[in-house]
Symmetry: C2
Subunit: 653 residues, 2 copies
């Protein structure tokens, strides 16, 4: 009987996710009737391999078994559990019990000889000869000491395992799968900017060349993904003006999400940004700076998009024959036509959309941020991500779905590599703790990879509006250390742009979505150096590149949140404390779970702050913290264990 | 998308269990992409019905839906979830939002008209006519108030639901099942006795006729199942003597579990007990006394069993050709031959074993207590219970498997109606609470029905050995109120037999398993009247016949355990407090969860002790308890809520 397999998502319907080099720990309940011993294996293979590999599972007690497999290639792995009654093992263990009480075991040794003889028939070459020799001794010399020595020889047990009768094996009824991505699938630092605002000249439309000039800056800040809002021709019909006004003034540049004009649609480039060659050049230049370009894929059309004429069936009609524009009743978005996934021409539509991805993949893009995937058909995503990852395993998809939890989880199950989250709206210690425990501490953590954003062009959250600089700093540390992937919308973030269009809302005043901006990167109040230190800490501490070991530690102050993480190999431990009050110095006592941190309460340990390069010596669980919003409202400590050397000289690991 | 269906055992591999009249509450996450409304149903049918029934599911928020079905027949039910996008509901709700802000809705009304027209095509008769009329108004009079009235008419919404397009429905990928038993499947009170010890004359072998004379006594005590250890001919070879001695003296009666002699095997009757007709007579007489006979099915043979000669292939051979007797190395049980479920003749063996059940079913038996099912093949149990319940849905099986939890759970999943448990060894407040929370508070409660035994012929537990009378009383109350099924091995229990064969062991001295006993039922120290009062409380309080609402309430004394239960219809609530210290008066404060009890902290409530007929008036959560082991170490309270009548006269429900 094989049951209770973990991890397993929705009875094996969906894969779990890992990155290359990860270990996948699998557990299962494996047992038989009676008192027979069982033997079981974690069986797995990469999709490219026909040969199954096996790892023997180790008993945890209470019929629970565990084994780990290592994923060393990107793509899909398949795993399941096989097990069988271990007749030889049962016999051997019974024999030991009989010998302990001095029973005559001659008959039992003969029985064992029969088992060995059967195994010999399944073996070949010198193993077969050796097994037959052993069998002969057990069957004919059962009164001798020799036979007992043979019976208990661990080498015999090993060879018997090798030639066990696999025809009687039980295989778990389902084959489960793992999607293995490259490292950036889990650990990535995103920087979003509007290329059109990158011109060094105020009021001038920026170009891809201008973005290239910005690369050293973004790279210095420590980011590795540069995400661009849609770069396609912008529609003229119903174009939005500044501050989302329904009528555009002459010269208004419109929203990049109103995709398509007579120049082209989702595979064309907005002429003012440059040419396709310029884009390819940018992709290559970014790569040289250690940056990857992520493109925004927003499957919606302006009324001027070529598809409106070429594929009228891809759009829903209203009762009067006109094309149905986007609505969220009573709100109307007449500048945007959604695509109709229930169209009778859906096959061609899906192919057309897939072609958008493959076009940009051909230009060197490997990361896509998908706009509002939850308003498109779920089966489409499973299909298109599956198709694309079959051909290009290194492609990553970020789901921008700010919607209900089950829908967001479903999109992750269907294949999205990363997902936007509710992080932006979890602003108290309790809310953050509960949210992270859901994301990381439950089954959701097996397939949903959170990407935390303190701001986006659509979202200027309340804490940043009212908390200003200290809030930008604390939100940055929270995002960058709670999640392994995070991003900011810059330069609005580092320049702490925080004026809302209206109080009580989350839109920016003079939002960059509707106009060109000119940002002064040299402004001395910029948080660029702080961001650089946070990203450095992320890069230099593998603990911040994994979330499996996230633990929250109690503090006696509701404004002080404290948590720790460990690297996959457990060699690196980071402890973070953040003051989430942007207005007051907060102090208090943390109560560390030393066991989970791997610390000995009898020994002092050192905390090395990665942001300020200061060091503290602590001992035991209870320690004092004081953080001022006027300085740096957070500690990101590397935890250094004291180690006693041979010469009794103390140093820290 | 339909997922997270609850209850569902091992991806639908196993059924849940219910008794007739129960409600089955089913929940699921049901959602679609976008903002479309969904509509979903719990769909089910009894195995005899070809027609599916549907109950509309109600939203619980966060995409979670719930519905209940009622099981009104024994046998199998099948259930699943179906759902679809509710286009009309979405349209109607959008229309309301548009009307609220005074938008022009003429085009929307026409769109709705199209939806109604499509439904009309699926309808027939006057519904079709009515729908077409409505459609006409919506399509042609969209400017009129009439059209708006039609659009929002709840009757239209109802008829539209009736004629929804089921071709686009999503059905959950698995059909799940429910095994529905008669009431005794969950609520039963067992009394075990050895028929051979029922003679009124000391030293004389008892008969079925003697058991008949005992029926009024057992019935008066309030039991409804009379369970008999094996009634078959007892083997002579290697017969065990008194106190499990390996050599029997002349006149020793042997163990009833050493089944089979030259007279016959599992379908024969031990001649000294009587004839098959006597047995049939006993079954009928028991029925008249409100008792059902449960037989012990122990699939093992004495060396003298007819099968040993008739079916030598059904037994495993040792290396020397002799038949393998039972062993638990280094212990040997030479009086018992286990059956070989891996025999090449397994098909005939399975049929033969099934025939044992059907033979006794033909004699009127409907309850079987199966001895050590975990040492027989799992697939056999699934097959044989399935076969028998297909022909005789009212048959119940109790699994006597004192083994590892996963194995016990598996047997329950495979079909056993009830299961022995670890209750006997859970003797502290913490251990009992944790164990019950596992049994009742987890998925296990869906398929594993515990049957609690304070003693059995094999088990004289430590608390009874050292705690004597008060321990017998408290263990009885715990078993009878924590579990809905429980049993005692009598008259050893009511006469408080508690001398162990050896200190540190759990066997009885002069165990009835190996010799005739003569019990003095008139002994004034007998607990018979107390047992009667406990069984009365069980019968008169439906709360004690269900465990779904079991709640433990904190007390400030580790020897006082307090819990409550509610009946399925919630009309009856019982609160139990037990002093588990057999040596001292224990007192303390209970802290009741009034919400869970359905009590108002502003009103007093009455507690009516079902064992002593005393009454207490309490208010609020915190109340005082004092229980003496020298009197009755437990309260079994019926909770009576104060109700204010029209004339402001207070009485209790």
């Amino acid at each position: 009987m094989i049951e209770g397999v973990d991890p397993e998502i929705d009875a094996g319907r969906f894969p779990i996710k890992r990155i290359i080099g990860d270990a996948v720990q699998v557990e299962a309940d494996v047992f038989g009737d009676g008192h027979d011993h069982v033997i079981c294996y974690l069986q797995f293979r990469h999709e490219d391999d026909s040969l199954q590999q096996r790892v023997r599972m180790e008993p945890l007690g209470n019929d629970r078994w565990r084994a780990s497999l290592q994923v060393s290639k990107i793509g899909r792995y398949f795993y399941t559990i096989v097990g069988s009654v271990n007749h030889f093992g049962t016999w051997r263990s019974d024999l030991l019990k009989r010998l302990e009480v001095g029973q005559d075991v001659c008959l039992e040794l003969q029985t064992g000889g029969l088992l060995v003889e059967q195994a010999a028939r399944r073996a070949e070459g010198k193993d077969a000869i050796q097994l037959n020799e052993w069998a002969h001794i057990l069957r004919t010399e059962c009164d001798s000491e020799d036979a007992k020595v043979v019976a208990l020889d661990p080498i015999l047990a090993e060879v018997m395992e090798q030639y066990a009768d696999t025809s009687l094996e039980t295989k778990y009824e389902r084959e489960l799968s793992i999607v293995v991505d490259r490292e950036r699938g889990r650990f990535s630092s995103w920087y979003e900017l509007f290329p059109r605002s990158c011109s060094p000249v105020a009021g001038k439309h920026g170009t891809f060349r201008d973005v290239e000039d910005r690369l050293p800056y973004i790279s210095r800040l420590g980011f590795d993904v540069l995400y661009l809002p849609p770069i396609h021709p912008i529609g003229e019909s119903f174009r939005k003006g500044k501050n989302n006004s329904v009528t555009a003034e002459p010269g208004d540049v419109g929203s990049p999400w109103a995709i398509g004009s007579e120049i082209g649609g989702h595979t064309a480039i907005h002429p003012e940004l440059g040419t396709l060659e310029d884009f390819q050049h940018l992709v290559a230049a970014a790569k040289k700076s250690g940056l990857e370009i992520a493109l925004d894929i927003a499957f919606q059309c302006s009324p001027d998009h070529p598809w409106v004429k070429e594929h009228p069936k891809w759009f829903r009609k209203r009762a009067d024959g006109s094309i149905q524009y986007a609505e969220n009743p009573p709100k109307k978005y007449q500048d945007i036509y959604p695509l109709d996934f229930e169209s009778e021409d859906w096959g061609a539509l899906w192919d057309g959309l897939k072609r958008v991805f493959t076009f940009w993949i051909e230009q060197g893009v490997r990361i896509f941020r998908v706009d509002n995937p939850h308003t498109k058909a779920f089966p489409f995503w499973e299909w298109v991500i599956g198709e694309i990852k079959r051909e290009h395993r290194d492609v990553l998809f970020l789901a921008e779905a700010f919607t209900r939890p089950r829908v967001m989880e479903r999109l992750a199950k269907l294949g999205f590599s990363q997902s936007y989250t509710y992080f932006t709206w979890r602003n108290t210690k309790q809310a953050l703790t509960e949210y992270l425990e859901q994301l990381v501490g439950t089954e959701v953590g097996e397939y949903f990879r959170p990407n935390f954003w303190p701001n986006t062009p659509d979202i200027l959250p309340e804490p940043l509006q009212i908390g200003a600089r200290p809030a930008f700093m604390s939100q940055l540390v929270l995002a960058a250390t709670l999640a392994t992937s995070y991003g900011i919308y810059g330069p609005a973030f580092e320049l702490q742009e925080n004026t809302p269009a209206k109080v009580g809302g989350e839109e920016y005043l003079y939002s960059e979505k509707y106009e060109l901006k000119h940002w002064d990167l040299d402004n001395p109040k910029s948080l660029a150096p702080f961001i650089e230190s946070v990203n450095n800490a992320r890069r230099e501490n593998a603990a911040l590149q994994a979330s499996h070991a996230l633990v929250f530690h109690p503090t006696d102050n509701p404004y002080l949140i404290c948590y720790s993480k460990k690297s996959v190999d457990e060699a690196n431990t980071v402890l973070v404390v953040v003051n989430i009050d942007s207005f007051h110095v907060q102090s208090g006592w943390v109560d560390l779970d030393l066991d989970k941190l791997g610390l000995d309460s009898r020994e002092p340990y050192q905390l090395h702050d990665q942001l300020t390069d200061t060091r503290y010596l602590w001992q035991g669980p209870r320690n004092y913290i004081e953080l001022s919003p006027l300085k740096i409202p957070a500690h990101v400590f590397r935890v250094l264990r004291r180690v006693r050397s041979e010469k009794d000289f103390d140093y820290y690991l």
